[in-house]
């Protein structure tokens, strides 16, 4: 009933192509935005910022980048974390070489570097397909992490081989470094992530999005109807890596504060892949849902034994956590292989015709 769409007619193609043709969706979004921009920052605790809000946003962004490549353009990548690393190291070099640079500009710029690296590693996708390509992306994963380790210039010859985020200011407010407040960092992240989301929505529903989806669904046919596969795949690699790179810069500069090379190793790649897949490949909304689940779940699981006063050692909790996360991944895949976003779409379809079953 709340979701009834009858009576909402479109009289032009422009109206039909609006972002939210259904009024209720727009209202729902407005509520969520109000929460994200106003209510949460007012109510959330420091712990919530650091372990839930900021990481969820950053992981969503990374997953969105991966989703462009894997969900929209159909090129399975297992090397996301390495491209995040490129973004993070690029940002580090930018702000240490040019300390006067506006940190947000530096973060947005650092994506350009990972886009470049992404294109270079995307070239094999023109020949290699499917799982072969997926494994090939691991070449990027392992090579880049090795490079972060070996190329001392990248971390300014620090003895420890790790990068440490310096204190950065923007318009007199500290946005990065140990003294930055979580509120400020949250708003910076939210701003960038919101912006990227809008751009991604537009890209994926337009010409480029259709090019990618065609490439994904059947690349031979796509080429035969006039799509330049090379351009399609490489733009996907570029844009995806750009977003992933920006998320990597945010990851280190707006959240972690420091990073060592193996932070960008394969477990991170897999975590982002989980988010994208559990959320739903080929969906923008799914990245958020997936991130909420994958980031939020362990945090909640960790607090459960305490809240219920179950005497259980933290190691056992961790073991159980890993097991539960593994089992839940399988569980969600079985429930809805197309992810949480599709689950939401189904619910929405039901709501539209509610109270009728068909």
């Amino acid at each position: 009933m709340f979701y009834r769409t009858s009576g909402q007619f479109k009289t032009s193609y422009t109206a039909d192509m609006a972002l939210f043709p259904v009024r209720q969706d727009a209202i729902l979004l407005a509520i969520i935005l109000a929460f994200a921009w106003v209510i949460l920052p007012l109510t959330a605790s420091e712990f919530a910022f650091q372990t839930l809000l900021i990481p969820i946003l950053i992981y969503s962004l990374a997953a969105m980048g991966l989703n462009i490549l894997t969900g929209y353009a159909g090129q399975l990548s297992l090397g996301t974390a390495a491209f995040m690393g490129v973004g993070a190291y690029a940002c580090y070099k930018l702000v240490t070489i040019m300390p006067w640079m506006n940190p947000v500009v530096a973060i947005l710029l650092s994506g350009v570097f990972s886009a470049g690296v992404g294109v270079a590693f995307g070239i094999p996708s023109l020949r290699i397909k499917g799982f072969y390509l997926a494994i090939a992306t691991l070449a990027a994963q392992f090579f880049l992490v090795w490079l972060f380790e070996k190329w001392a210039w990248l971390y300014n010859y620090n003895a420890s081989g790790a990068i440490q985020v310096p204190t950065l200011q923007m318009f007199g407010v500290t946005v990065a470094g140990p003294t930055a407040s979580s509120h400020v960092q949250y708003y910076v992240v939210l701003g960038i992530v919101s912006l990227m989301t809008i751009l991604c929505i537009n890209l994926t529903r337009g010409t480029l999005g259709r090019t990618w989806k065609a490439t994904r669904d059947m690349d031979i046919a796509a080429e035969l109807i006039g799509i330049n596969l090379m351009k399609s795949k490489l733009t996907a690699f570029a844009i995806s890596s750009y977003i992933v790179g920006v998320s990597g810069a945010l990851f280190v500069f707006m959240w972690r504060g420091a990073a060592e090379p193996n932070l960008f190793d394969i477990p991170l790649s897999f975590r982002i892949l989980f988010i994208a897949i559990i959320g739903g490949l080929g969906s923008i909304l799914g990245n958020y849902l997936g991130a909420i689940l994958i980031v939020g779940l362990p945090v909640i699981l960790n607090t459960l034994p305490e809240t219920f006063g179950i005497p259980i050692s933290s190691a056992t909790v961790e073991h159980l956590n890993i097991m539960i996360v593994g089992a839940l991944i399988v569980f969600f895949l079985i429930i809805e292989p197309h992810g949480l976003a599709r689950l939401w779409a189904l619910i929405r379809e039901k709501l539209v015709i509610w109270p009728f079953p068909h």
């Binding site: 094999p124 290699i128 494994i135 070449a139 090795w146 897949i277 073991h319 399988v330 079985i334």
Partner: protein, 319 residues
């Protein structure tokens, strides 16, 4: 000039200068190659029968080895432990088929791939819960695996082959021949290959998915146990072993995802080349540790020329 020299001349000069050392390098490469190949075999078998890219193969190796050692620690004689571990691997195969594969029949490849990552996580948590995280020692001697060494002195140098490595090589060879015979000559083998091509059609001719999958995962479990023993004898058994399983991936890429022969030859090539590269180029020129990526890059280059790997099935692209 100097650089070119150290890139193109010096390594070969080094090889000639110390042929015994070169032989040792080749042997070490060969042995690790065989061990990568063993992990890859498990992948190949499952991929062939179901187009499932089984990421859990690596953790199955660890799990199998831990089970074996775990039983032995409980006082069970070594060979009985082996049998019990096989039993555990069978139960694992049945459960995976029941709980994971059956409900996911017919889903896209990537979904099944993800599911195997889910299985991986589950097994890591479960394994650590039961066996703890300590590094365990493989019961090599108890299993009657020779632990001595063969020492040769070629060109007046020194070459040492460990007997357990030699055993691993022999076992791997036997395993591959047996698998090849099984897949190509038997009814079940043919059914496994048929299933890999087309589930629906296989069902329609009366091949039972369930039986085959349990069988295949069980064989993969056996391979995992063998691999676990071989690796464990070299490096001990712990969850850190899991990362070695990544090495099976470039092997698969190079050899071709569905080829048993490919897995072996790919494994040997990767083992040899990465060791040679690391010793003669990586360490002197690049600061070492190139083994983390060299195999992948090598496989990538080969794939640029043969997108289905050296022995993979030709990708049939028609419209």
């Amino acid at each position: 000039m100097d650089f070119l020299n150290s890139l193109l001349v010096q390594p070969f000069a080094d090889m000639f200068a110390a042929p015994d050392f070169l032989m040792q390098v080749l042997w070490e490469g060969l042995v690790s190659g065989i061990l990568y190949a063993l992990i890859a075999l498990g992948f190949v078998l499952i991929f062939r029968s179901s187009r499932i890219f089984n990421f859990a193969q690596g953790i199955m190796v660890v799990f199998a080895a831990l089970t074996l050692v775990g039983f032995h620690e409980m006082g069970v004689p070594a060979w009985i432990s082996v049998i019990l571990s096989l039993g555990v691997m069978f139960v694992l195969a049945v459960s995976i088929e029941r709980v994971v594969l059956r409900p996911l029949v017919g889903q896209p490849d990537i979904i099944l791939f993800m599911a195997t990552i889910g299985i991986t996580l589950f097994l890591i948590g479960f394994g650590e819960l039961i066996f703890g995280g300590e590094n365990k020692i493989m019961i090599t001697e108890e299993l009657g695996i020779p632990t001595g060494e063969f020492i040769f002195e070629p060109f007046g140098g020194f070459l040492l082959l460990e007997q357990k490595d030699v055993t691993a090589v022999v076992v791997a060879a036997v395993l591959v021949i047996a698998l090849l015979a099984f897949l190509n000559k038997t009814r079940m083998g043919r059914a496994i290959r048929a299933l890999g091509d087309d589930h629906q059609a296989a069902l329609s001719v009366g091949i039972s998915l369930q039986t085959i999958w349990v069988l295949v995962w069980f064989i993969a479990g056996i391979i995992a146990l063998v691999t676990g023993i071989a690796w464990g004898a070299r490096a001990g058994v712990s969850f850190a072993l899991e990362v070695i399983a990544y090495k099976a991936l470039p092997v698969l890429m190079l050899g071709g995802l569905e080829s048993i022969t490919g897995a072996i030859i790919g494994g040997l090539m990767i083992g040899l080349f990465e060791k040679l590269f690391e010793i003669y180029w990586g360490q002197p020129l690049l600061g070492g540790n190139t083994e983390t990526w060299f195999a992948f890059v090598l496989a990538l280059f080969v794939l640029l020329f043969r997108p289905q790997g050296l022995f993979g099935e030709r990708i049939i692209e028609r419209v």
